[in-house]
Symmetry: C2
Subunit: 341 residues, 2 copies
DNA sequence: ATGAAAGCGCTAACAC
DNA sequence: GTGTTAGCGCTTTCAT
């Protein structure tokens, strides 16, 4: 039976269903939540009445009464960077198997925005929080500490977690990339990245990278930073600029795959031998780029795993289970076609 | 002053703040919401107490009491298709200027999932709904009709809206692309697209496209469909397959830019003259692809405008303003470098 | 400028 | 198996 148009425009309540079905509100509530024993006869009466009226329960009232909210706050810096939609997809997949529902907040990499988004979300008393990164304002940390819900910080691993944490060590990722590059004999290394002091993960990768170079007695030979605009275009432009300025570079490390792809396309278009004359590498392992003329060397940031595990931790905790609080994932180096081996 | 760790783990209530500040709960409530007249002295006392305790208001109780919820439900088919994160970004930008907050639900292109997500979201009594597409289950339509909140259907324009609608006519987009292609003298036209019967917008573009071809006495000469996997790779593979099978094709129309880019890369790698020997076009105008060796011809789906306007409609309605209910945007043809002119 | 009382629409806990 | 009662933590309304 298809629901009728509600003429009164007054939102329907349990009471309306209760009257239509001729049973108490409590019984209606039980039927609608599949709780407790209800005879098949009443169950049928109630579901029929509810459907006929087009009743939509009021979760606000339900949540207030039961002190239970099936929402999980997910706080990410951006939607434009494909990495985060991908993490979201994995989180959704896992939560789809549970009664939990993700609610997304976006911070634009701004700590104060993060703080306000967090405040807003915590005021809905969610069953858990998944938040990108380890750097938060003092107030944000305090809120999460006091909230008494599972908090999972994701993506990064270098720092002090509030509660649970799942991610890859960004420093280590940078370090391992540097080591691989050195091992292949590259020595004159250029770096390109975002000009975002607030992207802590990019910063840590860079630090790990230079640190490992230093250990081998090597310094970054040249660098370029960008902000805004199409990453592919910026990658091209920066690569052109850096190679014109420092034609003797034999390797270019890009802080993300999109600018790396731009650099790769520039090299190919200009007859530069990759990886013979110049080697290239990015970071993230975005699937989006499979299918380029050459496969860019990169490091998989394991974001699907991260999303999945973070969601599992929240789900487990919501069921009162104890779970390990620190999950370190290992970023895997992919040589692709742009890094000799 | 930095908030203290809450030792009791009992969530703080207005009452706690009220006691700490030595004023009534009502006064605390007024201060925290900036409503009504409160003396500067009490205001200070209250804000101080609230901050010291680390009080986070309970919006659930607030919403129940005030019958007002500042959430806007946004329902989209997918996060993997960059189009939707982009729409989201624009929606967020606009809502950031208001007290409203977007809440995202993902349907994976499944009508039943859409129905359940919608039900879930409506049960939180949001201030508005933004939902992609015009095709919904009967129950979903009924829910939206009865919900008595502004509903904005976005992206598409070909069909019967429930309430407000903002988008581009997908049929027209397909038609206009076909007309442009014919006008440039192309006659042997191949089509490539997703194998998704539930992607109604792709389907309508295809219908518009073939319809316009038919009017010129032309039929699709060959076609390929794909599902899943990296769109760039699929674009390459399909292009290779279709050109091997039908080497006399002089134009390839791709139902989205990503597979179009794959096709473009294939042609370039195989010495096919674009757009001389074969012309190419996609759909969406994704910025992501600026920076390819050649700019793919495409049609901007205006998704930033769509997101912005949809959010503005919700915001206006939430303020009790009347606003126009049907906004048709015009997809703009971009010739790029892959369509003769 | 501040406070007291009533109640938003549900569910927990207990009765029958 | 079903009903009754008492709140959940706020805001609305009205009083002072």
């Amino acid at each position: 039976m298809s629901p009728q148009h509600n003429p009164s425009k007054r939102p329907l309540t349990l009471r309306d269903v209760s009257e239509a079905a001729g049973v108490s509100e409590m019984t209606v509530s039980r039927v609608l939540r599949n709780r407790g024993d209800v005879s098949d006869a009443t169950r049928l009466k109630v579901t029929k009445a509810a459907k006929m009226l087009g009743y939509v329960p009021n979760k606000i009232a339900g949540a207030l009464a039961s002190q239970r909210v099936n929402l999980v706050a997910v706080i990410i810096p951006s939607m434009s960077n494909m990495v985060f939609p991908e993490v979201m997809t994995s989180i959704s997949e896992v939560l789809d198997e549970t009664p939990l529902q993700p609610v997304i907040g976006v911070t634009n990499y701004l700590p104060e925005k993060e703080e306000s988004v967090l405040f807003e979300m915590l005021s809905w008393r969610p069953s858990g929080v998944i938040i990108a990164g380890l750097e938060h304002t003092a107030a944000a940390r305090a809120m999460m500490q006091n909230a008494d819900v599972p908090i999972v910080e994701i993506m990064d691993l270098d720092g002090d977690p509030i509660d649970a944490i799942v991610g890859v060590s960004q420093r280590r990722a940078g370090r391992e990339m540097a080591e691989a590059i050195i091992e292949q004999g590259y020595r004159k290394i250029g770096f390109m990245g975002t000009n975002m002091p607030l992207d802590h993960r990019a910063r840590k990768r860079f630090e790990g990278f230079t640190e490992a170079l230093a250990k081998a007695g090597i310094e970054i030979a040249d660098q370029e930073f960008y902000s805004g605009g199409s990453a592919l275009v910026k990658g091209r432009e920066m690569t052109e600029a850096i190679l014109k300025r420092s034609p003797d570079l034999d390797f270019l490390y890009f802080s993300n795959d999109m600018i790396g792809a731009g650099g790769l396309l520039y090299c190919l278009a200009n007859g530069i031998d990759v990886p013979g004359q110049v080697g290239l590498a990015g970071f993230n392992g975005v699937e989006l780029l499979d299918g380029l003329p050459k496969q860019l060397a990169t490091m998989d940031a394991e974001r699907h795993q991260i999303g999945r595990i973070a969601a599992q931790i929240i789900a487990a905790r919501a069921n009162g289970e104890e779970v390990e609080a620190r999950i370190e994932l290992t970023p895997k180096l992919q040589f692709g076609d742009t890094l000799k081996r």
